[in-house]
């Protein structure tokens, strides 16, 4: 366990912030924002006029 923490402290630090971002994002309703954006056809992405 100690070795795991010692060898992966950078990844674990980033993961901590990543999880924090995800939780804060969920609290500010980002999930619905992503869902709404993803539910519409992005005309530029598919190359339409």
């Amino acid at each position: 366990m100690k070795n795991f923490l010692k060898n992966n402290y950078i990844a674990l630090g980033i993961l901590f912030f990543a999880v924090l971002f995800v939780v804060l994002g969920l609290l500010q309703n980002d999930f619905q924002t992503v869902r709404q954006k993803g539910s519409m056809i992005c005309t530029q992405c598919v190359g339409f006029k």
Binding site: I10, L12, A18, V22, G47
Partner: protein
């Protein structure tokens, strides 16, 4: 005889990756009926970002594209920042690095399949050209949406608009299934289609040209290859320095010297071919490591 044995051994060890790629492809495209109706899915799952490159405008797509989400965030910086999408990208990167490219990307899978077509193969190192993907990441994914947001009313996703091959595939699927969409085809669509066909053609002769030269998601995940929880580990006590891994590497890396290079797409060929089983994932701890891992 020995060569045939090695090939057999490699095939035996390498079944898991294509199997997982196939499963991933199925999971990303759970809305099968979209292929027939030409209408995109808008249920709850669309709120989840997939780790690999996958266009959310594809009629079968069940999830959202991580790069599309990031570009939408940057093109709307006047509003709130999408912490959820950014957090998920960091989460995938720190946990898996480019394992996502090797195992969880449908476009990587397509390129893998195309490379299996038996023809003459070329293995260029792309020593300078490989930096293009970082330029794409900074220029089209980060700067372009911000600049267009500042100059126009709404920002535009630069990578999706000009390069993304998954978006072009989504466009083909939409126009094939929905005849009303065909009137929307313009010059940009034909340009993107030409680019997609070029990538497909190159993938037959060169291993994963898009991932190695242009993919901004690969560039982003590559930054995490050295520190990700799941990373390669070379047991120097077991390594006989036979050079088999270097010969097998399709992206021209020396796995013993730089097993966690940002260019490594985690195809696992070096790991599978090693006669001493000296290369492994981090989850199997061994005493000695290479590549500043310990």
């Amino acid at each position: 005889m020995k060569n045939k044995q090695t090939q057999k051994q490699q095939r035996k060890k390498g079944w898991f990756r294509p199997f997982l790629q196939l499963i991933t492809l199925g999971l990303y495209n759970l809305n099968f009926k979209g292929f027939r109706s030409g209408k995109i899915y808008n249920g709850t799952l669309k709120g989840i970002c997939t780790p690999g490159l996958h266009c959310y405008s594809c009629p079968a797509s069940a999830g959202s594209c991580p790069l599309g989400t990031l570009q939408n965030t940057l093109s709307n910086l006047r509003g709130k920042i999408n912490l959820y999408g950014t957090g998920l990208l960091l989460l995938f990167g720190a946990a898996l690095g480019r394992v996502v490219c090797g195992f969880l990307c449908p476009f990587g899978f397509l390129q893998d399949l195309l490379y299996k077509i038996p023809t003459k193969k070329f293995t260029p190192a792309f020593k300078r050209l490989r930096f293009m993907k970082y330029a794409v990441l900074v220029g089209l994914v980060v700067v372009f949406p911000i600049v267009t947001m500042l100059t126009k009313y709404a920002g535009e996703p630069g990578f999706c608009k000009f390069l993304c091959p998954m978006g072009t595939i989504a466009g083909i699927e939409l126009t094939a299934a929905n005849s009303e969409m065909r009137s929307l085809i313009g010059v940009l669509f034909w340009l993107k289609l030409g680019f997609l066909l070029t990538i497909i053609l190159c993938s037959i002769f060169i291993y994963r040209p898009f991932c190695r030269l242009l993919c901004p998601l690969g560039a982003f995940y590559g930054l995490f290859n050295k520190i990700a929880l799941l990373r390669y580990h070379v047991d120097e006590t077991a390594c006989t320095h036979c050079g088999a891994c270097e010969k097998a590497c399709p992206v021209r890396i020396d796995p013993v010297a730089e097993c966690n290079s940002a260019e490594c797409v985690r195809c696992g060929k070096c790991k599978n071919i090693c006669p001493a089983s000296a290369i492994s994932y981090r989850s199997k701890p061994k005493k000695c490591t290479s590549g500043k891992d310990e």
